[in-house]
Amino acid sequence: MGWLLLLGLAGFLGTCLWLVDASPARLAAGLPRLAAWTARGWPPDFSEWDALLLRAGETLAIGTLGTAFAGVLALPLSILAARPLTPSPLLRQPVRLLLDGLRGVDGFVFALLFVAAVGLGPFAGMLGVLLHSAGSIAKLWSEEIESADPGPLEAVAMTGAGRARIALFAVLPDRLPAMTSTLLYIWEFNVRASTVLGVVGAGGLGQELKAATDLLQFDRVFAILILVVLLVTGIDRLSALIRRRLA
């Protein structure tokens, strides 16, 4: 049985290797090229620093607003999807299906669609981030509500108050730190994801990155990558700091 499983796994991995068309020879040929470009990338070109900073600001704005609006959208959805608070179990399943759908499609894909719908630029990026992470946030929040100790909930229900009042006054405030922590985590993730949204024309640093690689301006690519790393690690640190305070 174990052998059969191992054989199956090996076959699966082999098929995958064939599908990605893996070729050590091509890697060997490509590596020196990459090394030459890296060498040409030094020193990084920050000459248009004001334009780059604006793009970095766009990236931060896309991730932040996308997360904030997604949170507003996710709050009612998470209540509908959480077993102890949903007004009807019949409603809960379709809502969960919707959330899985939103989560299943990457923000990148949504951004691509929004670029077509509302035009190039960071607005399309923000909408894409918003739609995808509304699904993720609502799903995680509903799980946080469901993992709450059922005892206190039963006690509050015994006072004869309806579910909506219980949710607003007792359950959500009680779960607020955990839910905020989740939101910050998604924020980190979204700022990181927003650095590449520009590749599909949805604004931010990714737009400069794509332009620079297309023109083989590797000193500029290097400068952008440095900015990306600084931005992402800065946000990660800040978010981790706030989350520690919440715990």
Binding site: P152, A155, G160, F169, P173
Partner: protein
């Protein structure tokens, strides 16, 4: 005020096993009745039936004494929700919302009927806040009103749970092993408070306990529940060794 709790012929099976086999039990207003019995005797199931967290299979449960009072065992829907407001339940594990303040936990007792926007903005009318503070004062915790529930000791948390029931204006208070997680001194304080509340507010109080000393010290009557039936119903002074042997004897055959 007339009233109290009147249970007749209550039956309940869980997963096909009979747990309550025809329980008759009455608690008068202002009276504290201790429910004594080994674990598995059906004490918690009895409480859950009376609080209507589960539906009894047979029998009736009257609140308010009169023959015309609605049968709690048969109520459903909105009528059940309304009737349940007159029943307070206190648990062994206190069951407070941990991150809310003592005051907010007490206020949940007044949450029904509050406009939704007030619930969302946490703005209770001044009269309700005063009532909650008065209840906290009654249980001796006014100074801790704004302290988070999980920062309070076990005895303090149980007192907050009692204050929550007080502002709910219940006519029946069910306390399921309310002092099982407390040290003896704190436990005696909580039970004393329960008895005072019963007298002052003319509330019928039914308390399950597993320690005989507490039942003797605080109850007006002691009811022994064994294998789903009431085995004795006595004033504490009438309690004898024989009664306890029947109660805690291993099931025959």
């Amino acid at each position: 005020m007339s009233g109290g709790l009147d249970i007749r012929g209550l039956e309940k099976a869980l997963a096909g096993q009979p747990v309550l086999r025809g329980v008759d039990l009455a608690v008068r207003p202002g009276e504290l009745v201790a429910l004594l019995g080994p674990s598995g005797a059906g004490k918690t199931t009895l409480f859950r039936c009376v609080a209507r967290l589960v539906r009894p299979d047979a029998g009736r449960i009257r609140l308010g004494g009169a023959e015309s009072a609605p049968d709690l065992a048969r109520l459903e829907g909105a009528a059940l929700v309304a009737a349940r407001r007159r029943v307070g339940l206190v648990f062994q594990q206190f069951n407070l919302m941990r991150r809310l303040s003592a005051l907010d936990n007490v206020l949940t007792g007044r949450l029904h009927g509050l406009p939704l926007w007030r619930a969302a903005l946490r703005r209770f009318p001044e009269a309700e806040r005063q009532a909650a503070l008065a209840a906290l004062d009654r249980v001796g915790l006014l100074s801790q009103a704004l302290v988070r529930a999980d920062r309070l000791s076990g005895g303090q948390q149980q007192r907050v749970a009692l204050a929550r029931v007080l502002v709910q204006n219940v006519s029946l208070l069910l306390a399921d092993e309310p002092v099982a997680s407390l040290d003896p001194e704190t436990a005696a304080g909580v039970l004393g408070l329960l008895r005072e509340i019963a007298r002052e507010r003319r509330i019928a109080v039914l308390v399950s306990l597993h320690q005989l000393d507490y039942a003797r010290g605080f109850a007006d009557r002691v009811v022994g529940l064994g294998r789903g039936r009431v085995l004795f119903d006595l004033p504490p002074a009438g309690l004898e060794e024989g009664h306890l042997r029947t109660l805690f004897a291993p099931p025959a055959g």
